[in-house]
């Protein structure tokens, strides 16, 4: 399997990258980890005429807390998340998710920016970001703009990142108080895309009342999806089994899975319910231990 011919540039600054994007127009694609793009090019499902490799651009691979936010550079690799002390201490959801993304070699190269910018509801980070209430920093020659994750995904393989722009950072409200998060997906075998996946986040007050909740769903909707009704049930409530059950049921009702080799609509809704329940319990447990 071999890609069609293309031109390749590896700019060392964002400005150079913008100039190249400007020059080559719509036929250019950004190459980050490449582990979604290159297989598609090899299968000739995608044939860009120019690749702009952004891996030499500095300052896009940080993981840090600042200004009340967890900030993750677009070029942070899955493996960097797995290895990060900060992530391991406070943001378990990433550890849950990365373990289930592809395989170790792919995670050595695949970037969090690419996983989101690919605009594929089958990818795992979109749901994680929805649960965490992330916002996405998009940079262009004109400057930076910040898009809430709920406004980021436009359609299959299309996102808020317009031509001439580059996704540069992902920002997540920093964990505070009793905070827990979790992710799980059912996959046919390790490394598969999700039959269904659920990301959860809760913040619980000292009184046991849920102050914040986030639920994102993977691959059970045309777009990465927020289970809003479920979140509303949780926030302001004691997180009893009944409340969790109700939230899980709503998530399964609100998603719109389509049938494929991984299962039919009914099975996927069933999975959403089961996983939502389990991941809420896991996030709550983590919150209580945080």
């Amino acid at each position: 399997m071999i890609a069609e011919q293309f031109n390749y540039d590896a700019p060392s600054t964002l400005n150079e990258a913008f100039a190249l994007l400007q020059e080559y127009g719509d036929e250019a694609k950004i190459l980050a980890g490449g582990h979604s793009l290159i297989p598609m090019m090899k299968l000739r499902f995608s044939s860009p005429t120019h690749l702009i490799d952004i891996n030499n651009i500095p300052d896009l691979n940080h993981i840090k807390e600042a200004d009340g936010q967890l900030k993750i550079g677009a070029l942070v690799r899955e493996v960097d998340l797995e290895d990060s002390d900060l992530i391991n201490q406070k943001y378990h959801i990433f550890i849950d998710a990365t373990k289930l993304i592809a395989d170790p070699q792919v995670r050595n190269f695949g970037t969090i920016g690419g996983n989101i910018a690919h605009g594929d509801a089958a990818n795992d980070h979109p749901a994680v970001m929805i649960a965490l209430g992330a916002e996405v920093e998009i940079t262009s020659p004109e400057g930076q703009r910040v898009v809430p994750i709920d406004e980021f995904f436009y359609g299959f393989y299309t996102t808020a990142v317009q031509h001439g722009e580059i996704l540069t950072e992902i920002r997540v409200p920093a964990a505070s108080g009793k905070y827990g998060s979790a992710y799980y997906k059912v996959e046919r075998k390790v490394g598969d895309y999700a039959a269904a996946g659920v990301a959860t986040m809760v913040q619980i007050g000292e009184d046991g009342i849920c102050q914040k909740a986030g639920i994102g769903l993977t691959n059970v909707n045309p777009l990465p999806m927020r289970a809003s009704r479920s979140e509303e049930v949780l926030v302001g409530s004691q997180l009893t089994d009944e409340v969790i059950e109700q939230a899980a049921k709503m998530a399964s009702e609100d998603c719109n899975p389509s049938e494929d080799l991984r299962g039919d609509e009914d099975y996927k809704r069933h999975l959403v319910k089961v996983i939502t329940k389990r991941m809420l319990k896991k996030a709550i447990e983590r919150a209580q231990n945080s």
């Binding site: 399997m1 071999i2 069609e4 011919q5 299968l43 000739r44 059912v186 046919r188 075998k189 390790v190 490394g191 598969d192 039959a195 080799l261 991984r262 299962g263 039919d264 009914d266 099975y267 069933h270 999975l271 089961v274 996983i275």
Partner: protein, 789 residues
């Protein structure tokens, strides 16, 4: 403990010798076909059909030919000029090399492009414009039998339906009578789906024709180089490529499992192009081509029935099979066995009434019917009988282990005549199952299961006690395209007592370079380290039909022992001459002959070999070489007792194999390490179709999972930690008492796994599950019996 007759230094049978072939593989010095690089070599890529069934209206290669570096685009019309557009299959059916007018399955070869590089060939493939007129494909084998179904093989004169052949065995009247009178009968429909061997190395070749010498060297991923040479001569003899002008070299092979037995169109096209251009032509498949176009395995629809008593005595079985062969029967079975050795399906049980019949049909799917680490359709048969046995046990409410124990053929009843005509050579089925039950604590597991059920937890225990039939085969019954299925060994011992031995088989990972050396070491007492093994070059190796169907040890392994024994006889004559005693006065111990009662008077094998070159007895032929073609008197019948324990998540239906114990009996063991390794690997290839793998087509003929993204080969995470062990019941007719093992675990594992899963949910009303049993499928079945809301 396995008893060894030879010292560790000699390293004969029973020693876990480390493998000789490892050195090159662990250092990146293997030589696989894609590593072959010849001067002036060009590359071939293949244009494939997007349709399952279509007329080809036009092929326009002009755009492709404009690309710099593109040398040629070959179509069926081009091959037709040389009468090379069709070829015979190993089952004497016919298969297109390239079509002249119709394509019969999605991904079928339509044209070949030849270019100076792999990359240019790939570009050119995209640039070939083919105009199709799609037709409605026939995908369902049952519908293929309908009277109004389109006749797919209209190329065959007078063909009026899609039926290929009918086969039957056993006593129908007697069996029907037993069924009519039986207290209990059970019936189960089963589908053994299409799967693909998916060896990690795909198929490929470098065809190199030397115009000056009219000689073809064919480097090729083939499990049967000699048979391939003969097939090439049969296909291309009329253009001057006669058999002595063909050299097939099968280099290191990255896994075969049956998928590298057939001749694929790509090979023939590469040969044709090399023949016409005089250039070496390399063709290496992509994974998707491999999965979508190479011969599939299985695809048997089976109606299985069992009759018995209320107490659990099995009295009769009846199997009816519909075999979906795709558009041509491209199985690789012995000629007289269209269903392979499916008739082993009466199983390990003592009863005398059985009847089996099968019909094969054409559909618009890829051709095949090859093995998948399976001895000629034995997996299908074993799945049918072992599932059916559990269905019967469940029907009468008897423990499936006890039911098996009560019905096993007894150790003392071998050789045992099966109702379908086999003579089982030996076995001790009770001992095998008892050992497996002890290893896994069967009785305690049943107690635990009862407790877990009370807690709403799903745990299941599944058993499979199978009889394999391997080592094809005796020449009176077994041939491929008329060539008898014996196999060969040639041993040459050099003056210094070191040897080279060559074989008609071809290892694809089985470790022949080690185990054959051990057999020769066992017989001659020459240290195995000093016995070089060679296979895969038809110019140097003796003729043989290759390695598949667990036949290498039963046939070529026997040939090695027999050739070595010829040499030992010669050594004995030389020893008698040198020691000045009669042959009757000599005794053998591994490595030397000595005079009875005077052990100090002895000659080592090395001394005797040296004498064969320097001081051989008058009248005796010099040198120390022997060849043997071994024609087995019977097949061998390995067996096994497997027990699987699964835990199932009652919400997600995720299935976890908690334990899997496999007790194999493959007769005498040459190298326990290698046998165990074969069992491990076979078990994972049994797990694969049981829970993960299946080639799926939609009604329009599209394959839905033609890459490794969706064709789910298990990883180390899905594969459990296998627990293995053995019993030993030697094959009485085999020179070294060995039976063959490579495929037993693939054959035996699926029913153990499925029986365990069914057992885990039997209390919810599940009686049977079709493979692959995925969590999704399990969920749907449970929902159908009202379990989930």
């Amino acid at each position: 403990m396995i008893k060894c007759k030879t010292s560790k230094e000699i390293g004969g049978m029973g020693h876990s010798k480390k493998r000789k072939e490892d050195a090159r593989f662990i250092q990146g010095k293997g030589n696989y076909v894609d590593d072959v690089k010849l001067p002036g070599m060009v590359y071939m890529d293949i244009v494939r059909s997007p349709y399952a069934y279509a007329k080809i209206k036009n092929i326009d290669a002009s755009k492709a030919l404009e690309i710099p570096g593109v040398l040629a685009v070959v179509t069926g019309k081009d091959l037709e000029q040389y009468n090379l557009h069709w070829m015979p299959t190993l089952m004497s059916d016919t298969q297109m090399v390239l079509p002249t007018d119709t394509v019969m399955y999605q991904a079928q070869e339509v044209a070949a492009v030849i270019a100076t590089s792999r990359y240019i060939a790939r570009d050119a493939k995209e640039a070939v414009m083919v105009e199709y007129e799609p037709m409605d494909p026939v995908m369902d084998p049952y519908k293929a039998m309908d009277e109004d179904a389109p006749v797919l093989r209209s190329d065959k004169e007078g063909k009026e339906d899609n039926h290929i052949w009918h086969w039957e065995v056993g006593d129908k009247n007697k069996t029907d009578r037993v069924f009519e009178e039986a207290e209990v009968t059970v019936k189960q429909q089963m589908h053994i789906p299409r799967i693909h061997v998916a060896s990690i190395e795909t198929c490929g070749c470098v065809a190199s024709y030397n115009k000056v010498e009219n000689h073809l060297t064919m480097y090729m991923t083939t499990q049967a180089p000699h048979a391939i040479r003969t097939v090439i001569a049969l296909v291309a003899g009329h253009v001057g490529l006669t058999e002595e002008k063909i050299r097939v070299i099968s280099p290191d092979i990255g896994g075969g499992f049956g998928g590298k037995v057939p001749v694929y169109p790509g090979y023939v096209i590469a040969i044709a192009v090399s023949f016409l251009t005089g250039l070496p032509v390399k063709w290496i498949e992509d994974r998707s081509e491999n999965l979508q176009a190479d011969s599939f395995a299985r695809d048997y629809h089976i109606t299985a029935e069992m009759a018995g008593t209320k107490e659990g005595k099995i009295l009769a079985t009846r199997f009816k099979v519909l075999a979906d062969h795709g558009y041509t029967d491209a199985s690789a079975n012995p000629s007289k066995f269209p269903t392979g050795l499916f008739s082993i399906g009466t199983g390990s049980y003592d009863y005398n009434a059985a009847y089996m019949e099968a019909d094969a049909v054409y559909t618009n799917k890829p051709p095949g019917g090859v093995a998948y680490r399976c001895s000629f359709r034995v997996t299908e048969a074993v799945h049918a009988i072992e599932r059916l046995t559990d269905v019967f046990a469940s029907e009468i409410g008897k423990d499936p282990a006890q039911l098996r124990m009560d019905n096993f053929i007894k150790k003392e009843d071998f050789p045992w005549a099966s109702p379908t005509g086999w003579s089982y050579d030996s076995g001790d089925y009770h001992a095998g199952l008892q050992k497996a039950m002890d290893a896994i604590n069967y009785d305690e597991l049943r107690i635990e299961q009862a407790q877990l059920r009370k807690e709403g937890k799903w745990m299941g225990i599944g058993i499979s006690t199978f009889t394999e039939v391997v080592g094809a085969g005796p020449s009176k019954d077994f041939d491929i395209l008329g060539v008898k299925m014996f196999d060969s060994a040639e041993i040459r011992v050099h003056p210094t007592g070191k040897a080279i031995a060559r074989f008609g088989t071809k290892s694809q990972g089985q470790g022949h370079e080690t185990t054959y050396a051990q057999i020769v070491a066992e017989e001659l007492g020459i240290p195995m380290e000093h016995i070089q093994i060679e296979e895969g070059d038809t110019d140097t190796a003796p003729y043989g039909l290759g390695t598949y169907a667990s036949r290498s040890t039963p046939t070529a392994g026997a040939a090695a022992a027999m050739a070595a024994r010829k040499l030992r006889d010669k050594a004995k004559r030389i020893a008698a001459y040198l020691l000045e005693v009669s042959e009757e006065d000599l005794e053998w111990e591994p490595g030397k002959f000595f005079v009875k009662g005077a052990p100090e008077k002895s000659k080592t094998i090395q001394e005797l070999v040296f004498a064969a070159y320097t001081n051989h007895p008058p009248g005796m032929e010099g040198g120390f070489e022997a060849t043997h073609y071994y024609d087995p008197p019977n097949l061998t019948f390995p067996s096994g007792a497997y027990i699987c324990v699964v835990d199932i998540d009652p919400e997600t239906c995720h299935i976890k194999i908690r334990r899997f114990v496999a007790i194999d009996d493959c007769g005498n063991i040459i190298n326990p390490m290698i046998v165990q390794g074969q069992v491990h690997g076979g078990l994972t290839q049994g797990l694969a179709p049981a829970m993960y793998e299946e080639l799926i087509y939609d009604n329009a003929g599209n394959i839905l999972n033609g890459t490794f993204m969706d064709y789910l080969v298990p990883t180390a995470v899905e594969s459990p930690s296998w627990e293995t062990g053995h019993t030993i019941t030697p094959a009485p007719h085999h020179p070294i008492g060995a039976k063959g093992v490579g495929e037993s675990p693939t054959v035996g594992a699926p029913p153990a796994i499925v029986n365990a899963i069914v057992d885990a949910v039997a209390h919810l009303g599940i009686k049977h599950l079709e493979i692959p049993v995925t969590p999704y499928k399990l969920y749907k079945e449970l929902k159908a019996v009202g379990h989930f809301e």
